[in-house]
Symmetry: C2
Subunit: 169 residues, 2 copies
């Protein structure tokens, strides 16, 4: 299973594509395919920024063909204005997934934090397979990329746990 | 000048296309071309709803070819969660405009209210040229359509005022 994790932001939108692969002994292993961040210039008007993020995410989906998309469920924000701005990027990210026929799974910040504990914090330094993206619209941005990887890992962890539960249940 | 006004909402997204035309005596007149609302089913997941709204708005833009898009600047919301939801729709609306190469103008609720006073409240009953849309994805929804018309009228009023000021300035 391949997941695209997206960490929405009005300036940097982090992304991480992660595979869950099983070896001959049926041990699961995570492989980071690509990670990085799409930068939207704060000097551009918001519609231009959203267009840039939309094109970047659609290109990522077309190139890496994930099975689904995972994003963070946000229930907090410093204020209503920042919630609206973040919502705009979130809407564009969900639309990119829906347009490609992909389901979107949302996870709370706590779920994401809990899920990555089992695999260690998804810092770039820990993700040996992950290298800065060469996508034309992207620049490597460690913090946002790591958060996006954590979201993808959370989804894979949740899916693997559900599968085990249904096998033993 | 032709403007598409959009009143964003997670269930009903109102729209109104309005022309500003001048007669032989140089008197301005507003002509409502179409108005209505795109309904997104609350039973559908949010990415599906956003996709539905995106397709509906893109079809409207392609059919009626507005010169620009006007939406409401929202700085209020009952809570952060509703602000995030509204932001998602707003992001998709701005993306539809940007994808079509159209500029997006934002107006405060107070500006919109002030602007429509000169033309009378943009109720459907006052807008004799406006008839329920026959767009396949739309159903007429008076309140949302009227709000969208008010946003479009606000933009035309502001543009006309600016033009007069620059002509006499």
């Amino acid at each position: 299973m391949r997941v695209l994790g997206i960490d929405c932001g009005t300036e940097y939108t982090g992304y991480g594509v992660v595979d869950l692969v099983s070896d001959a002994r049926n041990n699961d292993r995570l492989v980071c395919i690509v990670c990085g961040a799409i930068k939207a210039s704060p000097r551009d008007p918001m519609p231009t920024r959203l267009s840039h993020i939309s094109i970047g995410l659609s290109e990522l989906i077309a190139r890496h063909r994930p099975d689904c998309v995972a994003i963070e469920d946000v229930f907090y924000a410093t204020n209503v204005k920042s919630a609206l701005k973040l919502g705009q990027v979130r809407g564009v990210a969900m639309l990119a997934a829906a347009t490609a026929g992909l389901e979107v799974a949302g996870y709370s910040p706590l779920s994401i934090k809990s899920a990555v504990v089992g695999y260690g914090r998804a810092e770039n330094t820990k993700c040996s397979k992950c290298h800065p993206s060469s996508e034309s619209r992207s620049i490597p941005e460690p913090a946002d990329a790591a958060d996006a990887l954590a979201i993808a890992i959370c989804h894979l962890h949740t899916a693997a746990t559900r599968e085990r539960q249904s096998a033993t249940g």
